[in-house]
Amino acid sequence: MNAALLLSTALSSIGANKLRAGLTLLGIVIGVSSVIAMMAVGRGAQVSVTSRISDLGTDLITVRPGAQALRFAFFGGGGNSDVLSLADALALQDDIFAPGVRLVAPENSFSGAAAFGSQNTFVSGVGVTAEYLEARNLKIASGRNISNADVQNTSNVVVLGSETSETLFAQRNPIGATIKISVREFTVVGVMESQEGTIFNPDGSVLIPITTAHYRMNNGKGLVDSISVSSISVLATSESTVDDARTDISTVLRLRHELGVDEDDDFLITTQQDTIETLEGTQGTFVILLGSIAGISLLVGGIGVMNIMLVSVTERTREIGIRRAVGAKRRDILLQFVAEAVLMTFGGGILGVLIGWTVAYFGDGASVDGDIIETVIETHIAFIALAVSVAVGLFFGIYPAVRAASLNPIEALRHE
């Protein structure tokens, strides 16, 4: 029997019991469409996270105290560890030791309540230098940035995040106003643009000079150089020199911290690429998880196909006998039943892809509990899902088909 005949025979057999075929198909449709939709949602989340990180600029390198130091700091009870100092940050600006570095922005942190008049809000405070905005790809909406003079003078000036400004001042102009953070008074010199939707949202924060943060907010002591920083943002001269810059930073810091060759780094250097890879790895696991759950429903659909095919073989024993008597070979019977199973799962697969795509298409941008869902439809996932549904048909169709083909024609003809 040639392929075209085989297909038309299989189709007419499927058509003979439409309801049953439809229900069997449904299992595959649900399986495939959920695979497609789940993968689209998973990939969408992955892509959106990646793009948010990339928004920060891929030439960004972050230096933090190492795991060892952090643990020590934790037991010591302090918020910042003393591993990285302002002097370290200054050293990274050295063109000779660290030629791959373009910009260095050290920061430390504090927290407290900011108040203006009767309005107050809890803020996460960042002690910064003038370079911070550029390093973090942030912009001033009105007023000015923290200047290096502010840092040198330990000025009580503050730049507000857009949300903080909104909360304290509503529609009024905050520039020049005096606000209280904890018990200290600060003059507002600028407001940042909103960065809503980015991964490190600064809207609820305030920026003050790093020196002010150290001496006034954290009650730090010591010389300016010894001011401890919680993180140093470094921009490489270009995206292609990120790796060089990383090596430079490591060399400089190891020298400054007087680490021996057999000692581990007491700091941690993270490039944006590292962050993206880590997150993509996590998200990848998430996507695989979603895919597997959907895959299980495909498997269940496959078992449904096998079940129906077995019933069908029993019901059609006589038909098999007739076909054998008029010259069908075992192979013809085998292929007919396999073709039926594969046609059903393939049909289910196509319907599933269409439904999955539709769901993903209309689901893009939908909001669930305020979170925007992004979906990314990938053609190769559709092809894989189709291939898998065909494979499911083959796998679960083969056993019933073998049963059909191995029937003794004499007994099959006698079957009532």
């Binding site: 029997m1 008597a325 008029v326 010259g327 070979k329």
Partner: protein
């Protein structure tokens, strides 16, 4: 009487054929050393009580079953020892089956049912298949029934579709297993007349298993079975009588 040139080789040649079945610990010998030769153009009735081995013989002749020992030569080819695929091939090319319960595919039209054997031999295009199926249906007088499904036809008509299906590949040999078993007298007569016409006009070799003596007497040769052996093998001398008794109208072969 057939005017066909008789081939040198017989259509069927059984030599010392036995067929044994294991039932529990018993070995049942359904065929017990059968020697039988059927020449081209013969029309043979095989009769006998149930359990006499005639169905087993039919399955063997039909290449659905194989002898336990002995040789079966069909149209000059030794069939015993052929593989399952080769048997299917032989069935497809050399045999036409007519069954007691017609064995038509219930969902398919008459035309499609008759086409079925052609579908399993690659050499026909869809157009050729339909043309051959129409010719076969015309031959059994069902030109008006191409698109009828089995349920829409009488038993006699269904059996004629079955005969058309057996004919469609133009085989040498037509095997009919109780072809009139489910039919009333009139339809039986039509079917017997049809088979006779295929023998006399088309020169087909016809073997009919029956336990209806009237059907047997309508054939040219009667072979009686009992306990797996041939107990009688005779030529029917006066065939005209039983056929008239069956009240056959000539319309069947029209």
């Amino acid at each position: 009487m057939t005017t066909n040139v008789v081939n040198s080789a017989p259509v069927i040649e059984l030599t010392e054929v036995t067929r044994e079945f294991q039932i529990g610990t018993h070995v049942v010998r359904a065929l017990d050393g059968i020697n039988l030769t059927i020449e081209q153009g013969e029309m043979v009735a095989i009769i006998g009580p149930s359990g006499s081995g005639k169905s087993t013989l039919m399955n063997t002749l039909g290449c659905l079953d194989q002898p336990s020992s002995g040789s079966f030569v069909l149209n000059g080819q030794d069939v015993s020892g052929l593989s399952d695929n080769q048997l299917a091939e032989t069935r497809s090319r050399q045999l036409g089956f007519v069954f007691q319960s017609y064995n038509l595919l219930p969902r398919e039209t008459a035309l499609s049912n008759v086409e079925l054997p052609l579908k399993y031999s690659g050499e026909y295009s869809g157009k050729d298949r339909r043309a051959a199926a129409r010719t076969a249906l015309d031959r059994v007088g069902l030109s008006e029934r191409y698109d009828h499904r089995p349920m829409q036809m009488s038993g006699g008509e269904q059996q004629r579709v079955g005969i058309a299906r057996a004919l469609v590949k133009n085989p040498e040999l037509i095997l009919a297993d109780e072809p009139t078993g489910n039919l009333d007298t009139k339809s039986s007569g039509e079917v017997i007349e049809m088979l006779r016409s295929l023998n006399e006009v088309d020169g087909k070799t016809i073997v009919v298993v029956t336990h209806d003596p009237e059907v047997a007497e309508a054939m040219k040769r009667v072979i009686a079975f009992r306990d797996g052996r041939i107990v009688e093998d005779r030529l029917v001398t006066n065939r005209a009588t039983p056929i008239t008794n069956l009240n056959v109208e000539t319309e069947a072969s029209e």
